[in-house]
C-alpha cells in the first residue's frame, strides 16, 4: 500500500485547489510605483509554460509557475520529497488504508476573496473525477476517472466545513487561474512572460516577502546569463556547467544548486541487432569513460551513474558495482558476443540541452571516440526534438541518448516508468522486457513495508544492471544562478518551487 499511499499523497500534491473565477483587472500592475517593500523578482528560464491550469498539465515549466499561484492539501519538504502539511494541517489514515481524513487550515482565502473550505476541495476533486479524457486527457495519476475500473478515489466528501474525507477504491481550465497560493495571477504573454503579484490575504503571516514574480522566457543559455549579469533578471535557470566559474568568480552573483534527481543515459533498443545480444550491451558498458565526460561537460557537477535511478531516491542499490571502464575487457566481451571486429551503428544524440545532459552532441562525440577504440564505428546523428522523442518511442532509434528527471522522488517513477515492459511504447525507449523484473516492480507498487519495498527495488536494479539495456551515464546537479541580493531561494529536486520565502535584499 505504500505506493498507493505515496502516489495518492503525490496526487494530492499535484492537484491544486482551483476555483474558476474572474481576475480583477482593476488593480493592474503598478510595479513602477511603490517600491517600499519586497520588490519584484524576475526569473528567467529557457521555455514557457504550456498551461496555467495544473490539472491539465504534466509539464515542469507549468508547475514552476502554478506552484506559486495554487496550493495543495499537502506539499513536499523544502529540499526533499517527504510529505508535509500545507492547506491540510493534519490528516488521518484508517487502518485499512482506504479512508483519508484531512483537517483543513482555517481562515484561508482565494485570490478572489472566496473562503477556502471543505466544499472547495470537494468541488476540485469532483471537477477532475467527473471529467473525461476530452476535458483532462492528460491525467492518469488517479488511475482513472470516476466509476471506471482502476479509479483510485471512490468518493470525496465534506464532513464539516474544515474536514474532508477521501475514500479509495483500492489500496482542472479557468480563464484566470485563481488559487490560495502566495502569489496571484496578473498576466501571461506566451513565449515572453508571466506576471504574478503578491496575494495580500495570504494565510501565512509575513509571506510572501516579494511584491511579485515575473517569469521571463530567454531561450538561449548564454543570453540568459548575460541578462543576469546585466541586472535585468534576478534568477536564471539552466546555467551551463561550463559557465559556473563565470558566476562563482563574480561577487555580485551566486550559484544555486538543485539537488540531483535525474539520470542521463545511453539507451539500446534491445529489439534491434546487435543490441538484442546482452554481451554486446555489457561490452559497451565497459567502454565509456564516465568520469572524463563529467570532467569535460559537467564541470564536475555530476556523479557517474551505475543504476537507472539516482542515489537520492530511497531503494537505491549502492551495492551494484558498475562495469569498469576497461577497453581490453570490453573488446574481449565484444569478441565473445561474436563481434571481434566490432560493427557500425548510428548514435542518436539529443538536439536540445537537458538538465541531465547540457551538451549531448559533444558527449556523443566522446562516446564515439571511446567506441572507436573497441572497433565500434559510430555515426552521430540528431533530429528535431519532438521527432526525436517520437522516433525513440516507436523504437526507430537503436542507440540513443536520453534521460529523465523524477516527478515525485519515488523509485517506481524511474524503474517502472522507464524500464518495465508495460512502458514499452511509452518511456521505455529501450523496449526492454524482463518478466522477473516486471513481477518485482508490480509487487513493489503495492508493498506497504518500506524496508521490503526498498529490497524489491534493490533486486530490480541488480537485474537491470546485468541485462544492461542502458549505459547509465550521469546523475547531474542542475545549476541555477542568481543575483547576490536574492535570499532564501531553495531549489527543489522536483524542479519547481514556491517563491514564498524568497526575498530581495
Amino acid at each position: 500500500m505504500k505506493k498507493g499511499l505515496f502516489l495518492f499523497l503525490t496526487f494530492l500534491l499535484a492537484l491544486s485547489s482551483l476555483l474558476a473565477g474572474c481576475g480583477d483587472d482593476s488593480n493592474k500592475s503598478n510595479s513602477g510605483g511603490d517600491s517600499k517593500s519586497g520588490g519584484t523578482l524576475v526569473f528567467a528560464r529557457g521555455g514557457d509554460s504550456t498551461s496555467l491550469d495544473p490539472i491539465t498539465s504534466t509539464e515542469g515549466e507549468t508547475f514552476r509557475v502554478t506552484d506559486n499561484i495554487f496550493e495543495n492539501l499537502l506539499e513536499y519538504g523544502e529540499t526533499d520529497t517527504t510529505i508535509q502539511p500545507s492547506l491540510a494541517e493534519s490528516w488521518d489514515v484508517s487502518s485499512d488504508g482506504l479512508v483519508y481524513t484531512f483537517k483543513l487550515l482555517k481562515g484561508v482565502k482565494f485570490h478572489d476573496g472566496t473562503e477556502f473550505n471543505a466544499d472547495a476541495v470537494v468541488y476540485n476533486f469532483d471537477r477532475w473525477m467527473n471529467g473525461d479524457v476530452d476535458k483532462f486527457p492528460y491525467y492518469t495519476m488517479f488511475g482513472d476517472f470516476k466509476g471506471k475500473e482502476g479509479a483510485v478515489i471512490k468518493e470525496v466528501k465534506a464532513v464539516d466545513a474544515n474536514t474532508v474525507q477521501f475514500t479509495l477504491t483500492r489500496s482542472q481550465a479557468p480563464a484566470h487561474p485563481v488559487g490560495t497560493g502566495p502569489f496571484q495571477f496578473v498576466e501571461w504573454k506566451e513565449s515572453d512572460k508571466i506576471v504574478l503579484k503578491k496575494f495580500k490575504d495570504y494565510h501565512v503571516k509575513g509571506e510572501p516577502k516579494l511584491d511579485g514574480v515575473i517569469f521571463r522566457v530567454i531561450p538561449d543559455n548564454s543570453a540568459r546569463l548575460n541578462a543576469l549579469k546585466g541586472g535585468e533578471v534576478d534568477v536564471i535557470d539552466g546555467l551551463n556547467p561550463s559557465d559556473e566559474s563565470k558566476v562563482s568568480g563574480d561577487s555580485s552573483l551566486q550559484i544555486i544548486k538543485r539537488p540531483s534527481m535525474n539520470v542521463g543515459y545511453l539507451g539500446f533498443n534491445v529489439e534491434t541487432k546487435p543490441f538484442d545480444n546482452k554481451l554486446v550491451r555489457q561490452a559497451l558498458n565497459m567502454a565509456i569513460d564516465k568520469n572524463a565526460l563529467i570532467k569535460a561537460f559537467y564541470a564536475g557537477q555530476a556523479i557517474p551513474a551505475k543504476n537507472a535511478m539516482p542515489p537520492s531516491i530511497e531503494g537505491y542499490n549502492d551495492a551494484v558495482v558498475d562495469y569498469k571502464y576497461d577497453l581490453t575487457a570490453a573488446k574481449a566481451k565484444l569478441a565473445e558476443a561474436g563481434f571481434p571486429n566490432g560493427f557500425t551503428i548510428d548514435l542518436w544524440a539529443m538536439p536540445v540541452a537537458r538538465p541531465y545532459m547540457p551538451e549531448a552532441q559533444k558527449v556523443a562525440e566522446v562516446i564515439q571516440a571511446n567506441f572507436k577504440e573497441i572497433g565500434v564505428t559510430v555515426t552521430v546523428k540528431t533530429e528535431e526534438w519532438a521527432t526525436y522523442l517520437d522516433d525513440a518511442a516507436k523504437g526507430n532509434l537503436s542507440m540513443f541518448m536520453l534521460g529523465w528527471t523524477g516527478d515525485n522522488g519515488d523509485a517506481d517513477n524511474f524503474l517502472y516508468t522507464l524500464l518495465d515492459k508495460d512502458s514499452i511504447g511509452g518511456n521505455n525507449y529501450s523496449r526492454y522486457s524482463n518478466d522477473a523484473l516486471h513481477d518485482i516492480l508490480i509487487k513493489a507498487q503495492t508493498e506497504s513495508d518500506p524496508a521490503k519495498r526498498n529490497d524489491l527495488y534493490k533486486q530490480a536494479q541488480v537485474i537491470i544492471h546485468d541485462d544492461a539495456p542502458w549505459v547509465p551515464l550521469v546523475h547531474s546537479t542542475p545549476l541555477m544562478a542568481a543575483g547576490e541580493n536574492v535570499k532564501g531561494y531553495v531549489a527543489h529536486p522536483t524542479g519547481s518551487e514556491s517563491f514564498k520565502g524568497v526575498s530581495l535584499k
Binding site: 528567467a44 504550456t50 486527457p137 513565449s191 515572453d192 530567454i218 543570453a223 548575460n226 546585466g230 528535431e384
Partner: protein
C-alpha cells in the same frame, strides 16, 4: 496601373492556395504527433489516442485540408491546438513585435548600407571603399548569434549602456495599444518607457540589420558604379553640377531599381521572423512563435502563421513592383 494591381492581387490567390497545400503536407510529413507533444513524455497511449481524436487528427488528410480551406474562406485562421486561442488574435502581438524590429533594423540597414555603397562608388578604390566593402563582407559572414552575444557582452555587461534581452523593462511594463511599443509608449505619453523601449530595440535591430546592410552596401556600390560611367552622368558633371547632386540625384535614381528589389526581399525575409535574433535577444516575435508551434506540432498555427507571412511577403513584392513605376516613369504596367 489600376487593372495591373487588381490582376496582381488576383494572382495572389493561387500563390497563397499553393502555399497552404505545401505547408499542409510538409508539416504532416514530419514525424511527431501533436497529441503526444501536448501531453508530454509522461502521457499514456490511451490519452494520446483520445486527444488525437478530439483534435480531429485521425480524419483523412483531404477532409482535414478542405475543412481548413473552408475556415480560411470564412477568414477563420483556426485555433491553436496548444493554447486553444484564436490564431488571428494570438499571433497579433508577435507580428507587431516583428514589425517593429524589422522596421528599425531595415531603417538602419538602408540608411547605413545605401550611403556606404554610394560613397564607396563615388570614391571608388579609396580607403573608404576598401574598408566599407571589407566590413560588408564581414557583415555578411558574421554568425548572428555570435554577434548578438558579443553585443550583449560589450554594451550591456562591460559598458552597462543597454539591456541584453526583451522588448521592455518588465518591472515597468508597457500597456499595449497597438503592440508596437515605440508607438504605444508615445501614445500614452510615457517618455520613461519610450526610452526603455528604444534602449531595448537597439542591440537586436543592429544585429538584425548587419546582413541586409552589408548586402545593400555591396549592391548599391556596384549599381551606382555602373551608372557613374553612363553618358548622362558625364553630361551632368560636364555642365558643372555639384558632385553631390550628380551622385544622389542622377546616379542614385537610376541605380535604385535593383536596390529597391533587394530592400523588398530583405523586408519580406525579416518579416518572417528572425529566429536567431529573436532567440538570442529574447524578442517575442513571430519567428519564435512559429518555431514553438513547430516544436509543439501545432498544425493550425504553423499553417496560418506561414500563410500570413507569405501574404506579407507577396504584398511587399507587389508594392516594390508598383514603386518601380514611380522611380522610373519609363516602366509601364500593361496587360
Amino acid at each position: 496601373m489600376f487593372s495591373y494591381t487588381t490582376k496582381r492581387l488576383f494572382s495572389l490567390i493561387p500563390v497563397l492556395l499553393g502555399m497552404t497545400l505545401v505547408v499542409f503536407f510538409i508539416i504532416r510529413a514530419i514525424p511527431g504527433n501533436p497529441a503526444q507533444v501536448i501531453l508530454g513524455q509522461r502521457a499514456t497511449k490511451e490519452a494520446i489516442e483520445a486527444l488525437t481524436e478530439q483534435l480531429g487528427l485521425n480524419k483523412a488528410w483531404y477532409i482535414q485540408y478542405f475543412n481548413y480551406l473552408k475556415d480560411l474562406a470564412h477568414l477563420d485562421l483556426g485555433t491553436s491546438l496548444r493554447t486553444k486561442a484564436e490564431i488571428s488574435q494570438e499571433i497579433f502581438p508577435y507580428l507587431a513585435a516583428t514589425f517593429e524590429l524589422t522596421f528599425v533594423a531595415m531603417f538602419i540597414a538602408i540608411v547605413v548600407g545605401v550611403n556606404a555603397g554610394i560613397i564607396s562608388a563615388w570614391f571608388s578604390k579609396s580607403w573608404f571603399d576598401y574598408v566599407a566593402m571589407l566590413l560588408a563582407l564581414v557583415g555578411i559572414s558574421l554568425p548572428i548569434f555570435w554577434l548578438g552575444l558579443m553585443e550583449q557582452w560589450t554594451f550591456s555587461i562591460q559598458l552597462g549602456w543597454l539591456p541584453t534581452t526583451g522588448r521592455e523593462n518588465v518591472r515597468n511594463p508597457v500597456e499595449a495599444i497597438t503592440n508596437l511599443y515605440l508607438l504605444d509608449t508615445l501614445l500614452r505619453g510615457r517618455m520613461d518607457q519610450f526610452i526603455d523601449v528604444v534602449k531595448h530595440i537597439i542591440l537586436p535591430s543592429f544585429a538584425l540589420a548587419t546582413i541586409p546592410m552589408a548586402i545593400l552596401a555591396r549592391m548599391t556600390r556596384s549599381t551606382v558604379l555602373e551608372v557613374m560611367n553612363a553618358d548622362y552622368i558625364r553630361t551632368a558633371r560636364a555642365k558643372g553640377l555639384k558632385m553631390f547632386v550628380v551622385v544622389y540625384k542622377h546616379a542614385l535614381k537610376n541605380a535604385f531599381i535593383p536596390i529597391l528589389t533587394v530592400i523588398g526581399l530583405q523586408i519580406g525575409l525579416l518579416l518572417g521572423g528572425a529566429i536567431l535574433t529573436e532567440t538570442i535577444f529574447g524578442w517575442p516575435g513571430v519567428g519564435r512563435y512559429l518555431y514553438d508551434a513547430i516544436a509543439y506540432r501545432d498544425y493550425p498555427v504553423i499553417q496560418s502563421g506561414v500563410l500570413i507571412i507569405a501574404f506579407f511577403f507577396v504584398m511587399i513584392n507587389l508594392i516594390v513592383d508598383l514603386l518601380y513605376g514611380f522611380i522610373d516613369p519609363r516602366i509601364k504596367y500593361t496587360e
